[in-house]
């Protein structure tokens, strides 16, 4: 494991739950590893495969999609669709062995600042262990 390796993780956070959760984690001064570049989306179902794939192919070491818990979606059922799309993408990565562990879906509500910190820190730790994405330096893309 490269000690100096600082992973570059893209986090798609839903406006109503996870982004607010991240905000709460900040207000509570919880320690969060500084590897996550946050992209605010209105709903986790806004995240389509192109956003995730572009992130990876441009060299992201990990992609985190976070939204409201199932049943709590601001748009009632957006996160159910998001979960299906996520499952499809994950399965594609699995079937081609494209390091599916670099892609994660987590539910974090607006009141779960602590959970947000835990999810991000754990994911950052996992990605640090896996190491840099093979797409980072791949000139063949």
């Amino acid at each position: 494991m490269d000690k100096d390796f600082k992973p570059n993780i893209v986090g798609f956070l839903c406006n109503w739950c996870s982004y607010a959760g991240a905000d709460l984690a900040g207000s509570n001064k919880l320690e969060i590893k500084p590897f996550l570049s946050v992209v605010k989306v209105m709903c986790s179902s806004r995240v389509n495969s192109n956003l995730v794939l572009t992130s990876f192919l441009w060299g992201a070491d990990g992609v985190l999609i976070a939204g409201c818990h199932p049943g709590d979606c601001h748009y009632e059922k957006g996160n159910y669709y998001a979960r299906r799309r996520f499952a499809l993408l994950k399965k594609i990565m699995e079937s081609l062995n494209l390091e599916p562990q670099r892609l994660q879906l987590s539910w974090v509500s607006a009141s779960e600042g602590k959970r947000y910190a835990e999810v991000v820190n754990k994911f950052a730790e996992d990605i640090t262990k896996i190491g840099p994405s093979p797409f980072r330096k791949n000139q063949n893309l």
Binding site: S49, G59, R83, L88, I92, S95, P134, R136, Q139, L141
Partner: protein, 402 residues
């Protein structure tokens, strides 16, 4: 309607046996000729050999003399039939009573396009036909006579010969289930397993029955022999598929190997434009959204040390995969259209199979089934969540190979 009810409830399904003394294709065309003459059908959509070259085109025909050059099962699949049917009916139902003669993968593509609201089935009788595969288009065009012979040979033996395309060699959906409760086609033509002297016309829906009725054909022959043979071939091909996909996966998976597969891609997007499932008027990957400023590209070049053109070929293939893998019918049109001979269809077929299994979804078999991404259950796929919370369901249960 008593005949319908009998088939649906009491007796095992039966088919009409058509004598084929002069070959099965002649026999089938004879039926179509009669259907046009008696006006049981207004027109038929069928592959016809084009006059100048050895190629085939789809023709919607009423004139029975054109049937002379028609071929219900041509040695190649030049154009995906599902796409053709979608072109005809995209903007609404047709008022003529027509039939379309399609291979099983074309039929299934048509059903997927129907679910995608790109095709109307009103007044269309779908006639599917058992298919031994198709010869790779490039090989056929290089040596048409030789290819025709090897195709006849495959049609004779019915056991995945090397002459047909790779996806055809490992295709276990070369026939369609004739279950009346989940019909894909209206009328199925059973070939394999019969003696060469007859062809089975198996009605699946009332539409199919009506055609037979109009032609004075009685569905009174047992399907048992045909079904047994289909099962046998299916078993052989499924095993072959399993083995092939296992080895193939080892060769192409992983970030390095996967990008190497598409190394030769010239970004022509032929695979997308011939794909029956890729129906979008404008493909996202052709749109300006994917084109960036030179500054962005220079930043990318700097990070990698070099930048390869054409840009974003891997993004295109992976992105297209995420758009259509669940509906992929493994028809192989993409690979036939690839000028660089990349094994596109084999990759897509592998990914299609694995994703479809995960979603317990079989594309193109059931018209009533909703598309996998347009539907959801409240408790499912909890295994993809981190941390996982819901109780695991049977979403991974593999559907019976219909």
């Amino acid at each position: 309607m008593t005949a319908t009810e009998n088939i649906k409830i009491e007796k095992p399904p039966k088919g009409a046996s058509i004598p084929a003394k002069e070959g099965i294709k002649k026999a089938i065309l004879g039926v179509f000729k009669k259907a046009l003459e008696t006006e049981a059908l207004d027109a038929i959509m069928i592959p016809v050999k084009v006059p100048e070259t050895e190629s085939y085109a789809w023709v919607l025909l009423k004139d029975t003399t054109l049937l002379e050059n028609a071929d219900p099962l041509p040695p190649v699949m030049t154009i995906q039939g599902g796409k053709v049917l979608s072109d005809l009916t995209k903007h609404g139902k047709i008022n003529k009573n027509i039939a379309a003669v399609l291979r099983p993968c074309e039929t299934r593509a048509a059903v997927e396009l129907f679910k995608l609201k790109q095709l109307h089935f009103e007044n269309i009788t779908l006639i599917s036909i058992d298919c031994p595969g198709a010869i790779p288009l490039s090989e056929y065009l290089a040596e048409p006579e030789k290819s025709k012979k090897s195709f006849d040979n495959v049609l004779d033996k019915w056991d995945g010969d090397d002459a047909v395309r790779k996806v055809c060699q490992i295709c276990y959906r070369f026939s369609l289930p004739t279950l009346t409760n989940a019909p894909a086609s209206d009328l199925h033509i059973g070939l394999s397993g019969n003696t060469k002297d007859d062809v089975l016309l198996i009605p699946v829906t009332p539409k199919g029955e009506k055609i037979l009725e109009r032609l004075d054909l009685k569905a009174d022959s047992s399907l048992q022999k045909w079904e047994t043979k289909i099962k046998e071939i299916k078993k052989i091909k499924s095993q072959r598929r399993k083995k092939f996909n296992h080895d193939f996966k080892a060769n192409i998976s992983g970030p390095e190997k996967f990008t190497a597969v598409f190394d030769g891609c010239i970004n022509c997007h032929n695979c997308q434009s011939v794909c029956p499932i890729c129906y979008c008027q404008q493909c996202y990957f052709d749109s300006a959204t994917t084109k960036l400023s030179s500054e962005d590209y220079f930043r990318r070049a700097k990070e990698r040390g070099a930048l390869r053109f054409p840009l974003d070929t891997i993004l295109f293939h992976l992105g297209r995969m995420s758009h259509m893998a669940l509906s992929c019918v493994s028809c192989g049109a993409c690979e036939d259209a690839c000028p660089m001979s990349i094994s596109v269809s084999q990759v897509f077929s592998l990914v299609g199979e694995q994703t479809q299994q995960a979603f317990n979804y079989t594309p193109g078999i059931n018209r009533e089934e909703s598309l996998a991404l347009q539907d959801y259950l409240e408790d499912e796929f909890c295994e993809v969540e981190t941390p996982s919370e819901c109780e695991p369901t049977n979403s991974n249960e593999v559907k019976e190979n219909v």
